[in-house]
Amino acid sequence: MEVKTMAEFQSEGIQPELLFWVGCAGSFDSRAQKISKKLVEVLNMAKISFAILGQEESCTGDPARRAGNEFVFQMLALQNIETLNAYAVKKIVTTCPHCFNTLKNEYPALGGNYEVIHHSQLLKSLLDEGRIKVEGDVFKGKKITYHDSCYLGRANDIYEAPRSVLEHLDNEIVEMHRSRANGLCCGAGGGQMFKEDEPGNKRINIERVDEAANTGADIIAVNCPFCLTMMNDGVKEKDKNIMVYDISELILQK
């Protein structure tokens, strides 16, 4: 797969339209890498010139900041802002709502001002404008339920864009009991992804998978690589016959 970096564009003297912020999950997690590749497919199909930072990208600092480690957050954020500003980046797309939230809401206070969109917003506008179309019918007849991520939903009040992406499919969409502003967390945020649970009687992802299973859905659609991991783990543990996909994977099916 051919993806150019900002450095490569710069050496050609071209400024790409968009920066694709891949994030740690999108770069290193084998399941989330598929979403990164899917977004590259989408961007190519829509003929949008884009770049990644490649090795110059670091974690946005979201998990460090929420764990309470402001030093590590500032270190990462200030370095990232240096890099982004050096390339005069104007517009960023992310596949991760945590990266999205940090870049959009928290970098301005540190001197990083960009137009930041989440890929569900990009998908919505490309579908609405007819620049991309639903491809494939692998999931024909499957019932889909959409899981709101906290950082796209409550944190940024984006509930409709991902849902309107799913409306481009012929599939039946069912809502979970707790959805939109009342959506239940997958259990990964606030640094929980990187630690053991505190003592309790159930894992949060199991609680959410139970709720998703109650809708009778065959597919849980997510918009966050961490929700994806949590939901997948939950489905496996409960031995449910449910698949978990990022919304982009439901649009370009293979």
């Binding site: 993806v3 630690k195 003592p199």
Partner: protein
């Protein structure tokens, strides 16, 4: 001057004095918090006050309790109009002084109070049933054991007493108006008491009616005064503080965490990103600075206001994913702990000599109330913030405590250490041998 008048004025003066004392304490305790100037976006702030505090918009996430709550709230608001007359009557020794002056408008006000009072009685009964018979789970979690549960029942009991007084007062008055119109001015037709009065009190001696009317009037007055003095020691302070709390609430996106400028400038100079010549290590930094919050004095004052505003309804906790899955964290408990600690600190601070220059230290902190296990369970999902009908933000406090634990104490979950190391060394949350852009080539 009649004896009743004198007694009333004495009681009024005592109540005013006691109220002044206890409300001053609350203000003092709130001001223990850190200075935080909130002057931006006044229009949006007033909008929140009108929609969320006055309009109770967020209550309507649960429709039935929202209506029940609205009945009590409106009855309460309108009873304040009636209270003006009670004060005037009490001081001047008159009876229903405003009735002849206001005429039809008076009837309208009292009639509305009566109708709302009936609705409030329904609501109060429903709320008591929820707590005593249905035993709704969120009212029975560990932090509600003891005083908080009693507090809720006392308030509802006091409300029932007040409503009982209003109807006895009006019901006997309706009959007395027919017997002694010169002493009991015409109130116009009252929607409830015109039936309730004759039905309950019809056929009684005039003197009995007069006695009952006076008793009910005094009961009404004393219930209101009692309520006023009870508010500052109860969760019911929200009827007053919901207004300032929604005004001073956070307006930025829920996902945005406040920046720490001191840490930023330090990291900037460390990374060589700063252009101005800041003298680093000129002695000013000899003492290690403290970051985050370990006590109420480290929290911005508006968080203490929020703690006093909390009415312990538990909507936050009932939405918290950690709490729902059996973890110890309860956002409601966080707010109650902050308030209880503010009470404790305030109490001790007031005992100190006014000129004491020592930094307050009683060897205790918020961490004596809130365990690390609680703050470690938070997923920062904002469900508690979303759930609060009056814009309280327990998440901000949890994050301040986490900052203290990690930055000042260098403690925290050991699982996070490899993550921090990896972030510092490789810029990725996981320590992995492959390169960040390897996925392109796979």
């Amino acid at each position: 001057m009649k004896a009743g008048q004198i007694i009333f004025i004495i009681i009024l003066a005592v109540v005013a004095y006691l109220a002044y004392k206890s409300y001053s304490k609350i203000i003092y305790n709130i001001r223990l918090g850190k200075a935080n100037r909130i002057v931006d976006r006044p229009k949006d702030r007033w909008r929140n006050v009108i929609l969320i505090a006055l309009g109770q918009k967020k209550m309507f996430k649960k429709v039935v309790p929202a209506f029940l709550h609205l009945f009590i709230y409106l009855a309460f608001l309108l009873t304040q109009v009636e209270l003006i007359e009670i004060l005037l009557d009490g001081i001047l020794g008159k009876h229903r002084i405003l009735a002849p002056v206001l005429g039809g408008f008076y009837t309208l006000v009292i009639a509305t109070v009566e109708i709302l009072s009936v609705l409030a009685l329904v609501a109060t009964s429903a709320f008591l049933i929820r707590r005593l018979i249905l035993k709704i789970p969120r009212f029975f979690q560990s932090e509600m054991i003891g005083w908080p549960s009693k507090d809720a029942i006392i308030i509802l009991g006091l409300e029932a007493l007040l409503l009982f007084a209003i109807f006895t007062m009006n019901g006997t008055d309706v009959l007395l108006q027919g017997i002694m119109p010169e002493k009991y001015p015409d109130t116009g037709t009252l929607p409830v008491s015109q039936f309730l009065g004759p039905w309950l009190f019809g056929g009684m001696e005039t003197s009995t009616l007069m006695f009952l009317e006076r008793m009910a009037w005094w009961l009404h007055v004393l219930a209101v005064f009692g309520f006023l003095l009870y508010l500052p020691i109860s969760k019911h302070l929200h009827i007053l503080l919901a207004f300032p709390n929604t005004y001073f609430a956070k307006l930025t996106p829920k996902g945005e965490m406040d920046n720490m400028p001191d840490v930023m400038s330090e990291v900037k100079s460390m990374l060589g990103l700063t252009t101005d010549d800041v003298a680093v290590g000129d002695g000013a930094m000899d003492e290690l600075p403290e970051f985050g919050a370990k006590d109420v004095m480290d929290l911005p004052w508006n968080q203490l206001l929020a703690a006093y505003t909390c009415t312990e309804c538990g909507r936050c906790t009932s939405q918290c994913p950690a709490n729902l899955t059996g973890k110890k964290l309860s956002p409601r408990k966080i707010m109650m702990d902050v308030r209880d600690r503010a009470e404790e600190v305030g109490e001790q601070m007031r005992k100190r000599p006014a000129d004491s220059e020592e930094v307050f230290d009683d060897g205790r902190s918020l961490f004596d109330y809130i365990s690390p296990e609680e703050i470690h369970a938070c997923t920062t999902c904002n469900a508690c913030v979303e759930a609060c009908p009056i814009m309280i933000n327990p998440l901000d406090i949890i994050l301040q405590l986490r900052r203290y634990e990690i930055l000042t104490l260098s403690q925290g979950p050991s699982d996070w250490v490899p993550m921090f190391n990896s972030l510092e060394n490789t810029g990725a949350v996981w320590q992995l041998p492959e390169e960040r852009d390897a996925w392109i080539r796979q």
